[in-house]
């Protein structure tokens, strides 16, 4: 299976904005002059940072947080094309994807009555038809190119090796967040271009899966433990009832018993028995 990917070479980008125009045209998004950030109608644009042009878009993580956190699977990593896609018919609008995305990419239609999550979907339907995304197809300088991720990684390494004096020796997206479908090489250190460099190299979904995967064990053990406690304590109460001539064990016990956390309860039970005895 080909892992669809985009390689953007910041040293080659002239900031013409052809990619952003093509994205708008292809996805039928309203035009916008001089976008300053991604928005619900701007899924990619070229940000001017210092002397560099930095194209911004969804990173299409190999293990996307947004797809992991989506309770209904509206966001999903397409197994065939590798695009992170969005199915608005499933979405219930919890916006956990926006909270969970380490790159802060998803945008929301805040003023709509039927709001949708909006972001680059790697021109998913074009990929299915065998074409490349509209943005890379439009790039006049080859600064952003489409291809198989492994091939693009080789190409990125080749460029860095061929011109070590030009490029920063790092491929952004190779390891970030467990690897992303969108890769960058640059002639300027990434931290100076506003890239999130504190990003973890482990896939983010692992963090929550570490917790969630333990749930079945914890819940079944806790369930058995609770029923066991109930059974033991009920038995103890029955014994106490037998010993107490007054036939009102609860009244006798209640007068002395201190509340205890469940863990200390069994010890307490013996003390309670002593009181009654």
């Amino acid at each position: 299976m080909m892992k669809a990917a985009i390689l953007t070479d910041i040293s080659k980008c002239i900031g013409c904005g052809a990619c952003a125009e093509a994205c708008k045209t292809h996805n039928g998004l309203p035009p916008e002059d001089e976008p300053r950030a991604l928005s619900e109608t701007t899924w990619t644009f070229v940000k001017r940072v210092g002397d560099s042009n930095v194209r911004q878009q969804c990173m299409h993580c190999l293990e996307p947080s947004c797809a992991s956190v989506c309770p209904v699977g509206a966001l999903a990593k397409d197994a065939e094309t590798g695009a992170v896609t969005y199915d608005e018919s499933k979405c219930m609008g919890c916006r956990y994807c926006m909270v969970g995305c380490p790159f802060d990419v998803p945008r929301y239609e805040w003023t709509s009555n039927t709001p949708r999550v909006r972001k680059c979907i790697l021109c998913h339907e074009r990929l299915q038809a065998g074409a490349e995304p509209a943005c890379t197809a439009a790039c006049p300088t080859g600064a952003t190119i489409f291809g198989d991720r492994d091939a693009l990684l080789r190409e990125a390494s080749r460029r860095i090796a061929a011109e070590p004096e030009t490029y920063v020796p790092h491929i952004y997206g190779q390891a970030e967040a467990g690897g992303t479908g969108v890769l960058y090489v640059s002639n300027v250190p990434f931290e100076r271009l506003g890239f999130k460099v504190a990003i973890r190299n482990d896939p983010y979904p692992k963090l929550t899966w570490n917790v969630l995967s333990k749930l079945p064990n914890v819940v079944s053990v806790a369930g058995v433990g609770l029923v066991g406690l109930w059974w033991i304590i009920r038995r103890r109460d029955a014994l106490m009832t037998g010993r107490d001539p007054g036939g009102k064990p609860d009244a006798a016990r209640v007068a002395h018993d201190e509340p205890r956390t469940p863990e200390t309860r069994r010890d307490g039970g013996e003390q309670g028995g002593d009181h009654v005895g």
Binding site: P30, S68, P71, T111, Y204, E258
Partner: protein, 568 residues
């Protein structure tokens, strides 16, 4: 008629009516104008007060329900029976209100049922959704015997009672999962949640603080019920709950400090940041101080002391949850969020309606044991809940406690919140990004117009003292002027200037000329391929696409030759 109306219209009922009206108005605005119309939420702050307070706090403070139910029905602490029904009722109402709050907060609330059939077990939100559904159902069933008794439905009563222990076990399990999963929600944002709160142990901390907060809420509720309904307070029982709170808070505190040390974030506690102030507020006022207070038997057995200590726990709990959901995320978001009027209005209205529903249930159902309501006053007098009415054993002691609380609140609100806005976020892209590009001197084409239609070079005549090329194109770095080789019979050399084109009125955009079918900078060769000459331009290709004599002066117009080919 009016007089009659005024007679039944107490202050409290007025508040309830107003809250209901406010809620309806908010619903109208919310569902006609979208979330943006009633909230200050935005792409940087997708979760606000409704998630932070209505959901996280609402669910947490309902934890008293499962704690007391477990104590009574699983651990056979029958004396807690007195508070079991009100605690379960509170939890049930709390969960219903959380559901209503969610209907406001979800972008597409009519899809709220989707997690039932559309599964993603990897999502914490999926677990949260199921827990809400399941535990609300269990709470409804746990509360149902009271309703069945009221209407004398014996068969359903028998069925529910037969399975009551199972229900309670389920309730405890769902609660454990739900309380902890709300913390797990934030385990996936290590870069966004401030180091004082982010930890993989968030689920455990959420569970522990929910138990303390839920029990404290039960104590508060007992005091308030006493005020409102004359419901008898069992000192032994509330004393016991106070001790449990001390133990739970102590476990939480020790674990939290150890976790901060393990993560290497303990130093953040002693830095002077808005976050550390809030952290101290949460830990000092909400954990350490109430632990000290509840640790004293005298205070535990004093109704006012107990009330105050429990209130501190609840306030600490609320601050703690909001710290995770809102203030702890603020620095990374790079923007300041403060809830809009309608966000606050809906949250407050839901609380008021919750109290009203509680009062209604107490009045009409057998929530409190018989006999304890002998001195009950009508719920209309709930408005008499006021601090001065609290009986005190030592007025000075209580006064100093309240002063302490006020000072703490002032410290947290006065010092913490505003300075949170003053502190520039250190880790946002904005901080590392270059200053915004210089203002674009060229007029932008009207929105919606195709780029090609707006292109054109107005006057290639000598341009007087151009600013630097950088500034010309809104910060775009432009190539140097390009002099085309002269073809045979050319009247003079032609110079193409990016700068002049970009400086022109109605300047073309880069993609007007550069693009798939235009001048590709990765393959400069248009000249060699014979594409750029007077013939092709005349056919409307290359320069001729714009220089057609209509949009801008035409290439075939003899009168304007010199514009491109200045005679030597």
């Amino acid at each position: 008629m009016l007089a009659k109306l005024l007679k039944v219209m107490t202050w409290w009922r007025l508040v309830v009516l107003a809250s209901g009206g406010l809620l309806l108005a908010a619903a109208w605005l919310r569902f006609t104008g979208g979330l943006g119309a009633v909230t200050n939420l935005n792409d940087r702050v997708p979760w606000g007060l409704w998630i932070g307070f209505d959901v996280l706090v609402g669910v947490g403070l309902a934890a008293g329900g499962f704690c007391i139910a477990a104590a009574v029905h699983l651990f056979h602490m029958e004396r807690y029976e007195h508070v079991a029904k009100p605690a379960v009722l509170t939890a049930f109402l709390g969960y219903l209100l959380v559901c209503v709050g969610l209907l406001f907060d979800l972008g597409l609330p009519w899809n709220i049922w989707h997690p039932i059939i559309m599964w993603n077990p990897h999502s914490v939100m999926f677990e949260v959704g199921w827990c809400v559904i399941c535990y609300t159902t269990v709470l409804g069933l746990e509360f149902s015997p009271i309703v069945f008794e009221r209407f004398g439905w014996t068969l359903p009563l028998k069925i529910v009672r037969a399975g009551y222990t199972g229900l309670v076990v389920l309730g405890v399990l769902f609660s454990m999962m739900h309380q902890s999963s709300l913390g797990t929600l934030f385990v996936i944002v290590p870069d966004k949640l401030y180091g004082l709160w982010y930890t993989p142990w968030l689920p455990v901390f959420f569970f522990l603080t929910a138990v303390a907060g839920g029990l404290a809420m039960t104590i508060l509720e007992s005091n308030l019920s006493f005020r409102a309904f004359g419901h008898k307070l069992d000192d032994d029982l509330l004393d016991g709950m106070g001790r449990v709170i001390v133990v739970v808070l102590a476990v939480f505190f020790v674990w939290k400090v150890e976790d901060l040390a393990n993560q290497g974030t303990l130093a953040l506690v002693f830095e002077r940041t808005p976050e550390s102030v809030l952290f101290w507020g949460e830990m000092g006022l909400g954990v350490l101080l109430p632990m000290a207070l509840f640790g004293s038997e005298k205070i535990r057995r004093d109704r006012s002391g107990r009330f105050f200590a429990a209130l501190l726990v609840v306030i600490g709990f609320v601050v703690g949850r909001l710290n995770v959901a809102i203030t702890g995320m603020q620095r990374a978001s790079g923007v300041d969020y403060f809830p809009a009027f309608w966000e606050i209005a809906i949250s407050v209205s839901l609380c008021v309606l919750g109290f009203a529903a509680f009062g209604f249930a107490v009045k009409n159902l057998d929530v409190f044991p018989k006999g304890e309501l002998a001195h009950a006053r009508p719920p209309a007098e709930i408005s008499a809940w006021s601090l001065r009415a609290l009986p005190t054993t030592s007025p000075w002691g209580i006064a100093s406690l309240w002063a302490l609380l006020a000072a703490g609140v002032w410290l947290v609100l006065g010092t913490g919140a505003p300075s949170a806005t003053a502190q520039p976020p250190a880790t946002t892209p904005a901080a590392v990004a270059a200053p915004a590009p210089a203002p674009v001197p060229v007029a932008a084409p009207p929105a919606g117009a195709p780029a090609a239609a707006t292109s054109g070079a107005a006057t290639p005549a000598p341009v007087p003292a151009l600013p630097t090329q950088q500034a010309l194109a809104g910060g775009k770095k432009l190539p140097a002027d390009y002099i085309f080789p002269m073809a045979a019979g050319s009247p003079g050399p032609c110079t193409f200037s990016h700068a002049r084109h970009m400086a022109a009125k109605d300047a073309p955009k880069c993609p007007t000329c550069h693009g798939k079918d235009g001048f590709r900078t990765d393959r400069p060769g248009a000249l060699k391929e014979g594409l750029l000459n007077m013939e092709t331009m005349g056919e409307g290709k290359t320069c001729g696409a714009c220089h057609d004599g209509k949009r801008v002066f035409g290439v075939e117009d003899d009168a304007t030759c010199e514009k491109c080919h200045p005679a030597r």
